[in-house]
């Protein structure tokens, strides 16, 4: 009789990993599955690979995660997970994980230097950070301090604010532009699309099925089940194109032209939702401006900019206008939003949805119904924060509508050219060097920083520049409450809780922030009675005040709360006028275009660089963070360069051969994959590979980083182009290719 044990032993898994230092801890991982009824212990939690927080059920046996699957009762992800979530137990058990605080003993920094790490205690690490922080602040002033971090968890936001640190994050490269536009057109930003009730769906550039979030892919799947018609404009044939009734290989950046021409047709033929537009928008007030503005954007004109036949645009626009509900979903994975002309593109898509009358209507773009979970600041309000420096190193203050986001895309330029040598202390929290355009340029800048603290889960490339490394917990070890914003037609909340204890000396975000806060800004980390605030108390307070239960321990047993609530469409919108704004007076007031104008993407093909570059996010990976997961690494493969066979032939590139891709920013060498699924004038590369860190045993040194090709930008460039944030830097780039063999 064969047993599970013999199968496992002989497939070699146990043998291959026996040499790992984690042997003891994970010995039980490879044990025979037991014969008692399964599952032995099932814990409800939620994924944090991406921000959609899919409900998860973790099966744990003897303290080791056996399997992760979707939470069946969760309507959000419908009981399913993507490959990243399913395989995420591996991140937890990664033998490469950062285990202890470490300090650099080699003062020289750079990719060619061995930092010579030594293990230190948490107390020594935190005391050293506090001492160095004080020293640098006293010597150079507040302008020398920088946090490279998200604003969540709220603990970190409080720490940075209390210390008067300027903060940069990735939002300019993500959906920041869409937030700027949404707030002023429909009142608020939202990723909630009721596609399952839509009849006509136009997807600009968006690979919704494979490269976005599963919770959104499910919407389109149900739309197809319900018989919706789907039109996809994308330079690449993707799994979304397979789900589409028609796929049009639009020229990169040309989707803006198509969207403008669709608005032209809707206005020309009065195919908009008259009732909605009259009642809830400012169309009436600006009708003449709007109509005359779009007069010039005819489908015939758009054909020249997009390669989509005018007849197709006429027909699609008419169908879009005549079918209810019709919707044009937008997301950060929309290719358009990744180009420099994303600002008018987001605006044009917002107008299409307003004209279709679908804002907060069934089958349309709605605002999630959420339960408000009180924030840290509302539970324990902080004393007034110190004022931040007026001039930021990323130059964001020059952009009048940028909001509170920092800018990845201008940081390298700010640190090296505008304010060289200004930043002396960096708190770097869970970001990856390869997420920045031209990471090498940023690396040069990081060499000049006197003291850098790095908080991370794995030893990523930023380690080369850090002075102290703090090992943090990952999501399967942390606690949180998450009110859903994707797919929330009625409110629901899911728990995040430790599935197994945090290994080694890893610590949570709240521990790190509070311990540093105690040392550097104690008044911000105390309750009114003078005792220290704590992560567990915050969760208890939040649970109670949100009405989820007596305390967190009680709620986490259920793990999930859904509130029955009928969907009542909104009649007022959160804009300045209470109406949806097609014409945006706030843009006009800041000398921006109040209505979207055509403009080409930043970089266009030339004799030197004849091809458009497109970067894609492989569905098996979360950006730069999961390549060291051996399961995902195996199924997601390595980096590649997709080229059309006719283009490859022109340059003598063979399938599977090495190809060199050059741009004005740099070059990369990868394996060519010839495919009929891309336009002949397009070169496609995946994002997320090319980690340099030798401490990553699976991902280190493999593949290339697409960002080596993408030019970083200066704040003046962004401002002069009339961009609302720095979205041009994510893939707006042209390249040349040649064989590299």
């Amino acid at each position: 009789m064969i047993t599970r044990r013999t199968i496992l032993r002989n497939t070699g898994t146990a043998a291959a990993l026996a040499a790992a230092p984690w042997e003891e801890l994970f010995a039980s991982y490879f044990e025979e599955a037991k014969t008692v009824p399964y599952p032995p212990e099932s814990i409800v939690t939620s994924c944090a690979i991406c921000d959609s927080a899919c409900g998860m059920r973790a099966t744990v046996k003897d303290g080791v995660i056996r399997f992760l699957q979707g939470l069946p009762e969760d309507p959000h992800n419908e009981g399913r997970l993507c490959a990243k979530g399913t395989a995420s137990a591996w991140i937890k058990n990664d033998p490469d994980r950062l285990k202890f605080p470490m300090m650099r003993t080699n003062p020289k920094k750079g990719f060619e230097e061995d930092p010579r790490w030594v293990r230190i205690s948490w107390t020594e690490a935190l005391d050293t950070i506090a001492a160095r922080f004080r020293e640098i602040r006293d010597k150079y002033g507040q302008e020398a301090l920088l946090a490279v971090s998200r604003s969540s968890p709220a603990w970190f936001a409080r720490l940075y604010s209390a210390l008067g640190m300027e903060r940069v994050d990735h939002n300019d490269m993500c959906y920041g532009v869409d937030i700027v536009v949404s707030q002023r057109t429909i009142g608020a930003h939202s990723f909630a699309w009721d596609l399952e009730n839509a009849k006509y769906i136009v997807l600009f550039g968006w690979d919704m099925m494979a490269r976005a979030k599963l919770v959104l892919a499910n919407r389109l799947l149900h739309a197809k089940e319900n018989g919706a018609r789907v039109v996809n404009f994308n330079p690449v044939y993707t799994p979304t194109a397979k789900f589409s009734d028609e796929w049009h290989p639009v020229r990169p950046g040309g989707d803006l032209a198509v969207a403008l021409a669709m608005i032209h047709v809707l206005l020309k033929e009065n195919l908009y939702d008259k009732d909605f537009v009259d009642k809830y928008t400012n169309f009436g007030q600006y009708e003449n401006e709007i109509r005359s503005h779009f007069e010039k954007y005819t489908p015939e004109w758009a054909e020249k900019e997009s390669d989509v036949p005018a007849g197709v645009i006429w027909r699609v626009a008419r169908e879009f206008g005549a079918t209810r509900p019709a919707v044009a979903p937008l997301h950060k994975k929309t290719l358009a939003a990744n180009y420099e002309n994303a600002a008018p593109m987001c605006h044009a898509i917002a107008i299409l949805n307003i004209l279709a009358g679908n804002i907060d209507r069934p089958g349309g773009h709605y605002f999630p119904r959420t339960i408000s979970i009180p924030s840290l600041d509302s539970i324990w309000p902080p004393p007034a924060y110190p004022k931040l420096p007026a001039k930021r190193v990323d130059g964001r203050e020059k952009l009048p509508l940028a909001g509170s986001y920092g800018m990845f895309s201008t940081l390298a330029d700010g640190m090296t050219r505008v304010y060289p040598g200004r930043v002396k202390f960096i708190f770097w929290n869970n970001y990856h060097l390869n997420s920045f355009p031209e990471p090498r340029r940023l690396a040069e800048a990081l060499k000049t920083v006197e003291f850098m603290v790095l908080v991370d889960i794995l030893p990523m490339d930023a380690m080369y520049f850090a002075d102290i490394v703090l090992p943090s917990t990952m999501f399967l070890e942390g606690s949180d409450l998450i009110a859903r914003t994707y797919n929330a037609k009625s409110p629901f909340v899911v728990v995040r809780q430790p599935v197994t204890p945090a290994p080694f000396e890893t610590k949570s975000a709240s521990y790190i922030a509070i311990e540093l806060g105690k040392r550097l800004a104690p008044e911000y980390f105390k309750k009114p009675d003078g005792s220290w605030i704590s992560g567990s108390e915050l969760l208890d307070e939040q649970t109670k005040r949100a009405g989820l239960g007596e305390n967190f321990a009680e709620f986490r047993k259920k793990g999930f709360f859904a509130k029955e609530q009928a969907f009542t469409p909104r009649t007022t919108f959160a804009t300045a006028t209470g109406k949806c704004q097609i014409y945006v007076p706030e843009f006009a007031a800041k000398n921006y275009d109040p209505l979207p104008n055509w403009r080409p993407k930043r970089d266009l093909p030339s004799a030197e660089f004849p091809y458009y570059l497109i970067t894609v996010l492989p569905g098996e990976h979360k950006r730069n963070s999961t390549q060291n997961n051996p399961i995902l690494n195996e199924i997601g493969g390595a980096s590649y360069v997709q080229i059309h066979p006719s283009t490859a032939q022109k340059h003598g590139i063979r399938n599977g051969g090495l190809v060199r891709v050059r741009s004005r920013a740099g070059e990369a060498v990868g394996v060519a994959r010839l495919t009929e699924t891309v336009r002949p004038d397009v070169v496609v590369v995946p994002h997320g590979f090319g980690h340099k860190s030798p401490w990553l045993s699976v991902a280190g040194g493999k593949g290339f980083s697409d960002n080596d090709l993408i030019p970083a930008q200066s704040i003046d460039e962004v401002y002069q182009r009339g961009d609302w944030l720095g979205s041009g830097c994510i893939m707006d780039c042209v390249v040349a290719i040649e064989p590299a063999e």
């Binding site: 497939t11 399997f67 419908e78 993507c82 490959a83 494979a210 799947l221 089940e225 044939y237 009929e676």
Partner: protein
């Protein structure tokens, strides 16, 4: 005898590879040696811009008349009565490679390090506990489903283009071919 099979709907496959990840996670299949019990196969057809892609999640189809079983010189392969899962006894396998030469679906795969051939077990250990195989549990779109063969065998088609003719092996897999309703 109870038996089970796969129902595959290629039009629903989004190439996310959740099935592969779940398979590897549950079965702890060794990584890095290109042993992938389940894998998403992708086939392009046509020329730009009239191109199409078919993606199918493929693993062992647990044939009623399994060639691998027939050709194994050491009789390491058998088909269980309980669920119809075709299994390879790892303690008997000598890594000769006959089974993967004869399997038209590429199911048995040789681990070059251990010189043993392994393949999909239909997660018989999950079935025994009343659970579905890991891959079918994970598939987010219903492109890969699993169930009682008596319920599946009458559904859809017995093959899609490029799939080996099922007449002799009697694989337990069917393909949904109906298009989306419009």
């Amino acid at each position: 005898m109870n038996s089970y099979g796969w129902l595959i709907d290629p039009k629903r496959c989004i190439e996310c590879s959740a099935c592969e990840a779940a398979c590897k996670q549950w079965n702890q299949v060794e990584t890095g040696v290109n042993v992938r019990w389940r894998r998403v196969l992708r086939q392009e057809a046509g020329a730009f811009p009239n191109v199409s892609v078919t993606a199918v999640s493929m693993a062992c189809n647990h044939c009623e008349n399994a060639f691998c079983q027939k050709v194994c010189p050491v009789k390491a392969i058998w088909r269980r009565d309980e669920d119809g899962a075709v299994l390879i006894d790892q303690s008997r396998c000598v890594g000769c490679g006959q089974c993967y030469v004869f399997c038209p679906y590429g199911a048995p795969q040789l681990n070059p390090a251990t010189r043993k051939t392994s393949k999909c077990t239909m997660c018989f250990d999950r079935i025994e506990q009343g659970l579905e195989p890991a891959c079918a549990t994970a598939c987010p779109t219903g492109a890969l489903r699993w169930g009682k063969w008596e319920e599946i065998r009458g559904k859809g088609a017995d093959r899609i283009p490029g799939f080996a003719h099922p007449r002799q092996m009697q694989p337990h897999v069917r393909f949904v071919t109906e298009p989306w309703r419009s």
